[in-house]
Symmetry: C2
């Protein structure tokens, strides 16, 4: 029954089918939908739109703006239906990824805190229709989001029309978990009043003029669950390196047993590293992050973590089941914020976060490629990693030292694409070890990274490159004509070493 | 007479010669000195130290921390005396540059807002001695800086000992211009209360325990003046492009006639661009920048600019003379802040700055190299450009399209070093034209940059590269083995075209 979820009764008449709701969307429009890391995404109206596009003869192309990645089905089916002209600011779906890399879909890869700043200041065009998944609509017509906030608040506030996907499969208990704070316009903006991860500074719903609600669609479609893999021996070793390092920092008076508020990027490696804190001397931990993964709830269950602030909750199937069952237990320990606030440079710098993000590849000087395979092909997007790495108290990047059975070294002479410059990388960790790069010049960084993080099977090669580069001189020595030779080797011979590794 | 400048009379006994003051500095120490873009730097004690190092047989190596660049003489003579082991966070002196690039001096190139965060959190070791140039010492023992604030506040507060260079050549009228606000420690930090460029939020002096003042040296040595060159036809054209663009933005309701608070990087090109605003329809301009150059005062004299906040004042000889003469006229229109505050991400994002910085080279996708010639050799450092470009309302980079008589194109297929990723570059300007990159995907960015900004003599070459790259596909298409071919051409044949240009 959904009548208790639409509390502004004048809106009851707005209930329509997904197909009918989708008729508000026309060719050339910009559509902003809810969704952040597969959580709380609009699910049924986008799919109805895709069906219409496949049935109709006339062209139907839209610009799709989201919080971050949405459910696989949405990005896949919209891509297959050829509906997407432009997509931003993040995605993680194979079919869409292919269309992006072929140039069929224009993908704008943005720092996740910045999308709504660009929209608010009218620098990227206007939003025609917002589609927001909700657990309820309040008496005032306010929208109560579901498992993510993302960019939904600003999308709904700025859109000409709003379509609500009222999802009965999302528990009403989520209500009260959200904290919607929208910064005022510049140049007359006040400070963002978040001083602790626990601070509530906004409303528990998205405040909009209810007359903008053009349609309400009732759905019971569940979020996609996450596909993080369990920690393995290598990720456990990486977690151990980090715990040892934190312990060392504590001994030197630079950290306490509570550490600093933690941020962790999405994915199996970052999740496993966070998991490693369960068996650590640290306690009373807090999180100020974007996506809250399984490890956050495991740390809470274990009594290690006291509070977590994020923009979305993305869990494995079993963890999701447990979370929904025990939601009351977690409710006063969680806040879900707009991604502009979860990722806000102001708040990140103020709180002094320890930021842990994943590298696709790193170079011997500690520059990071988070996005482009081979320097050209987009994986997912930079996401919030730049917001956090630049502004944190301590920026840690993690990656396994090898990929493709040893044919790829994740640490190369020069990264083929730079998402994070050496200035924004304090600590680099592989299963081989940890490189503490703070206060080091590039040549010193290279020595520590090669010795501590590069896999032994590539260490001599890396040293050879570095020695040859140093002979040529410079603050950041390189042999330009060989800077990408490892990548060329991989392309031509199947291994960065020049000949494939047999395992 | 200097007695009116040392108002805490118990400190009179601390007056010593520069040589005697320098005896507080020993081998292995970390010394933090005042100075930002040649302004307000400690001048006589560092030189006395250099003399001692050259006279004594025993080793004398220090780590030298500053605000940004200091006077040429200081960096040059300390380098020649072989005193510098490590240097941060910025420099701009040829002899030191050579020592950095040869690996003799370890240079740590940092975002200028971040140095004191690292020191305050004890992540880079402690400061043994701070040397701060002052116009006066207050009754409380507070230090009144001269023409820059830079990192002097935190250096003096955290150092074991403080040496004051009381400079009688710096006018006492500077007193009252400074606004010393030091953020509290994390994680219990309050918002930085700067809401407008005009806001005063701190003290007019650096508050320290006066018992830490170990020596006072009286000096009359003037700041180095700046060596900005006058605007030329090309910089004037670049300024015109920017004024036209601002006018266009105003017509579309995205800017007002007051624009937004402006930031401008140091150097002739950025200075010339600011100069171009004199003959523009804009008025009541404000500045929230790091260094205040000639153009700021010209804009004030012309009634165009109403207020400027910075961390230093660096002027040409004639402008410096006029400024010191008319200082009362400017006094209520200027604030000098710690560089942590002038460059603070929190404040930059809150105010919504228009940031104008200079590129050494850019690539067809809009990534920027601000620092490394040929990808390896340090020029000056990233300075504050990252603080501003990342967090501004609008990030503009400027560069002339050609260098070395046309043998170098400033826009290349791939930059050899990345200081600013495409995410942080909204607008790219050369004398050829302006590329508005907001909301564009990389392939679209390349088209606009090649067509609008690349010099015609390189345009076909750039298009050839881009077409070949697109045929291989990707979000950011590249031909890796040719990505640096223009640089190789320049190295081998004296021109990026493969054969030198004859003019």
């Amino acid at each position: 029954m959904y009548m208790d979820r639409i509390r502004l009764k004048s809106l009851i008449g707005k209930i329509v089918s997904a197909e009918e709701a989708a008729t508000h969307i026309h060719d050339g429009m910009t559509v902003g939908i809810s969704g952040f890391t597969r959580a709380g995404d609009a699910k049924v109206v986008p799919l109805a739109l895709a069906r219409r596009a496949q049935e109709e003869a006339k062209p139907l192309k839209i610009n799709l703006w989201t919080g971050a990645s949405v459910g696989d089905e949405v990005d896949r089916i919209l891509t297959e239906a050829n509906v997407l002209a432009r997509r931003l600011p993040f995605q993680a779906e194979p079919v869409l990824r292919k269309a992006i890399n072929s140039g069929d879909v224009m993908f704008i890869d943005q720092h996740l805190s910045q999308t709504v700043e660009m929209i608010r200041s009218n620098q990227m065009g206007k939003i025609d229709v917002a589609i927001v998944e909700a657990v309820a609509i309040t008496e005032e017509g306010g929208i109560v989001p579901t498992t993510s906030v993302g960019n939904s608040g600003t999308f709904a506030i700025l859109a000409d029309k709003v379509i609500v996907e009222l999802n009965l499969a999302q528990p009403l208990d989520l209500e009260g978990m959200h904290d919607i704070y929208i910064p005022t316009r510049r140049p007359y903006r006040e400070p963002v009043p978040v001083l602790r991860p626990q601070n509530r500074v906004g409303l528990p719903f998205i405040p909009i003029d209810p007359s903008k609600i053009a349609a309400i669609v009732i759905t019971e479609k569940a979020d996609n669950t996450s596909n993080v893999t369990a920690p393995d021996a290598e990720t456990q070793t990486m977690a151990d390196h980090i715990v040892d390092f934190f312990t060392h920092e504590m001994k030197h008076g630079r950290l306490t047993e509570k550490l600093m508020p933690l941020q962790s990027g999405i994915g199996s490696v970052a999740n496993a590293v966070m998991h490693g804190l369960i068996k650590s001397p640290f306690h009373d931990l807090t999180m100020y992050s974007e996506v809250l993964q399984d490890s956050v709830f495991d740390l809470m269950d274990d009594g290690k973590m006291v509070f977590a602030s994020g923009s979305s909750i993305t869990l494995s199937p079993s963890k999701a089941q447990q979370f929904f069952q025990d939601i009351q237990k977690y409710k006063d320990k969680l806040i879900l914020r707009p991604q502009e606030i979860s990722n806000h440079p102001e708040v990140i710098r103020r709180l002094g976060l320890i930021a842990i993000n994943t590298a696709l590849e790193a170079d011997i000087y500690g520059n990071i490629n988070s996005t482009h395979v081979g320097g050209t092909h987009m994986m997912n997007g930079i996401g919030g990693s730049g917001d956090f790495a630049r502004n944190s108290y301590m920026s840690i990047f993690v990656t396994k030292s090898l990929a493709k059975g040893g044919n790829i070294s994740s640490i190369v002479p020069m990264v083929t694409h730079v998402d994070h410059t050496e200035h924004d990388v304090d600590i680099l960790v592989t299963e081989q070890g940890l490189a503490d790069l703070r206060g080091l010049a590039p040549r010193e960084r290279a020595n520590v990274i090669i010795n501590n993080c590069v896999h032994p099977s590539y260490r001599e090669l890396a040293l050879d490159y570095f020695r040859e580069a140093c002979a040529r001189g410079g603050q950041t020595p390189h042999v330009l004509e060989k800077a990408f030779s490892w990548h060329q080797n991989f392309k031509e011979h199947g291994s960065m070493k020049g000949a494939p590794v047999t395992q």
